[in-house]
């Protein structure tokens, strides 16, 4: 029951949390039913916990499938390294977001949290040089992206300005609303 900063331990912890939440929701529902509540009311009263249990169950297998797929993929070592870092980042991100659950239901202790936070920050630093490379690999055509902010050539400001010229308001130097509303309004205030 000692926490280790390893992916085996992390994946196991996700399942411990899921099992803990399922168990907790089931026990609370049973307690309500034993207290005389109808099963439907007991279900409704416990539904916040039930939703959380489902979410934890799903998150556990998303983390597991990510880690498993990466470890089984036959890719080059440099790519394997990046994919492993992404899988670790995904797991740690959700673990730290929900650390209260892990402190309650897994063998994570408060003293271990600092180490996990540091691990996450190190992963961000390691992935930083490859961020553009990873999204380039998605290989999305500029026309599909449809965004001056994300085009392959990075001409963000030129493209944004070009887009602004498409506004129908820019088709004439003075809009008719000036003569109809603004001008009389300005005079009336004089």
């Amino acid at each position: 029951a000692i926490w280790e900063n390893s992916m085996d331990c992390v994946v196991k912890a996700f399942y411990q949390v899921a099992a803990g939440k399922v168990k907790s929701a089931a026990e609370h529902m049973e307690r309500r039913a034993k207290g005389g509540m109808s099963s439907e009311d007991a279900w409704n009263e416990s539904s916040i916990e039930l939703v959380a249990a489902s979410t934890a169950h799903c998150r556990a297998f998303m983390v597991e499938k990510f880690v498993e797929t990466v470890s089984k993929s036959s890719v080059s070592r440099p790519l394997q390294t990046v994919l492993t870092q992404l899988a670790e980042l995904y797991a740690l991100y959700w673990l730290l977001i929900n650390k209260g659950d892990f402190l309650m239901f897994s063998n994570l202790s408060p003293a271990d949290v600092d180490g996990l936070q540091l691990w996450l920050e190190q992963l961000l630093a390691k992935l930083r040089p490859n961020a553009v490379g990873i999204v380039d690999s998605f290989d999305i055509h500029d026309e599909i992206l449809g965004s001056p902010l994300g085009a392959w050539d990075g001409r963000v400001y030129e493209r944004m300005f070009e887009e602004s010229q498409k506004s129908p308001l820019n088709s004439e130097p003075v809009n008719k609303s000036f003569h109809e509303y603004l001008k009389p309004f300005l005079r009336s205030n004089l």
Partner: protein, 470 residues
């Protein structure tokens, strides 16, 4: 090319093409995708003279119908047609690049045709699918009502069998029973599969699907007794032409009930299918596809935000030093990189559930229903998590682009509109999570009584007596 992006690409430590091939499923698939993209994107008929957002709601719809018709005509003329092409055009990134705010013909292909295939008899399939496939008719799928969404047993529209004329009489007893939401229903479709409570011989037999003609095939005028229109502007997907539909004693022939599973005989006798669970297949397939689409939409959003973050410089990290790339700030990395990781998590989970779907479907064909509840539970919660994660990640990366991400032209607001819609359609997320919870509660009882559990929940046995150490 912007010099910052050149530098970023120079320092990348892996072969980006290798990852592209991995994500596409191989080099051949990458080439196939690129050919498909060139085939559609090079067509000048899909170019907008004026950005769509500057057009009125009505004009946007009219342009989308024009593009959708041209798109499907081109698809039928394609030398190597495949389901991948359909998928990409209907829900995928390519389709949303051509028609940014929703395809008014999508439900004809995504729901109408699969429902005919999944729930029609062989004779019904031969007649209706050929008419639908040849675009003699345009269909949609009308299930949700103003008063009822995911809880389909509560639907109020009635189909009462009249043995004297061998017809069903469709009726909307209340305003809340009006169909509400189906894509293409407003002004595009002339037929719909309508889900209604079946009454025969004075008894209600629950909900069943019926093919109903809505509009005249020549004039497109609504038929007598059909109350139909578009529901109005929404947060996003404004060109999907979502509609409403009411019935005032509309008569349809007996053979218009889809009878692959349950049947009504000429005298009104109701014959129930041995397993009504067989109709769950289409629903689960759609949920698997949604997970794949969420991964695609998110990959688009993170590409926009990451490249922008490499080009954008902001503030002073050290006094007197030049403004660094925003990508160098740890807080910016925390917004972008977990969102990038989510693209992979969704993609790999969708692959896993797709494999499970195929296994369970082949077991179903042999009459083995054992793993159906497990698949149902997994597809429910995975759809819920993928859509809610994608919606919050798109919003996070939009914020990572500051004010520029708020521009419509950034394409992040439209992407958010498409993604957040999926949190609601094909089963509202909280309702789906509660369906998974029902399965988990049953499984928990089985675990406690020492029974063997199916693979995705076997961990409950492992940790059933597990206690946190402190």
């Amino acid at each position: 090319v912007n010099p910052d992006l050149v530098r970023e690409r120079q320092k990348c430590t892996f072969n980006t093409l290798e990852l592209t091939h991995l994500l596409d499923g191989g080099e051949a698939k990458t080439l196939e995708r690129k050919e498909r993209e060139d085939y559609f994107l090079s067509d000048p008929a899909f170019k907008d003279e004026v950005p769509m957002e500057y057009l009125s709601h009505k004009e946007q719809y009219e342009h989308s119908v024009r593009k959708a018709c041209h798109m499907f005509k081109k698809l039928q003329e394609m030398p190597h047609g495949s389901m991948d092409n359909f998928r990409q055009l209907l829900g995928g990134m390519l389709g949303s690049a051509i028609i940014k705010d929703g395809n008014p013909l999508a439900l004809h292909y995504v729901m109408f045709l699969p429902t005919l295939a999944g729930q029609g008899t062989v004779e019904q399939q031969a007649f209706w699918i050929s008419r639908a496939w040849n675009l003699e008719i345009i269909g949609t799928y009308a299930q949700t009502e103003l008063g009822h969404g995911t809880f389909i047993r509560g639907l109020e529209t009635t189909a009462t069998y009249d043995p004297a004329t061998q017809e069903f009489v469709l009726n909307s007893p209340t305003l809340t029973s009006y169909k509400w939401w189906p894509g293409g229903l407003g002004h595009t479709a002339n037929y719909a599969v309508v889900v209604a409570q079946l009454y025969t011989q004075g008894k209600c037999h629950g909900i069943h699907p019926f093919i109903v003609q809505l509009r005249d095939e020549e004039t497109h005028m609504p038929l007598p007794g059909i109350i139909i229109g578009e529901i109005g502007a929404k947060l996003g997907m404004n060109t999907t032409n979502n509609g409403y539909l009411g019935f005032k004693q509309v008569r349809i022939p007996l053979e218009n009930m889809l009878m692959k599973n349950n049947k009504v005989l000429e005298d009104g006798t109701y014959v129930k299918s041995p397993s009504d669970k067989l109709t769950y297949g289409t629903m689960m397939f759609v949920r698997v596809v949604i997970c794949q689409d969420m991964s695609s939409y998110l990959s688009k959003a993170v590409t926009i935000a990451t490249r922008y973050s490499a080009v954008r410089h902001q503030s002073e990290m050290k006094p007197g030093a030049p403004e660094p790339q925003v990508l160098d700030y740890r807080t910016q990395q925390y917004k972008l990189l977990p969102s990038i990781a989510s693209v992979f998590a969704m993609k790999f989970s969708a692959q896993w559930i797709w494999e499970m779907y195929n296994v369970v479907n082949s077991e179903l064909d042999q009459g083995d229903l054992e793993r159906l509840p497990e698949l149902h539970a997994a597809s429910c919660c995975l759809k819920a998590l993928c859509t809610s994660d994608a919606a919050s990640a798109v919003e996070t990366v939009r914020l990572a682009c500051g004010g520029h991400g708020y521009m419509k032209s950034s394409n992040l607001p439209s992407t958010y509109g498409l993604v957040t819609a999926a949190c609601t359609y094909e089963g509202e997320n909280t309702v789906l999570l509660l369906q998974t919870a029902r399965y988990l509660m049953k499984t928990w009882q089985q675990a406690r009584s020492g029974q063997t559990l199916t693979p995705s929940v076997a961990y409950l046995n492992l940790y059933s007596d597990w206690r946190q150490p402190r």
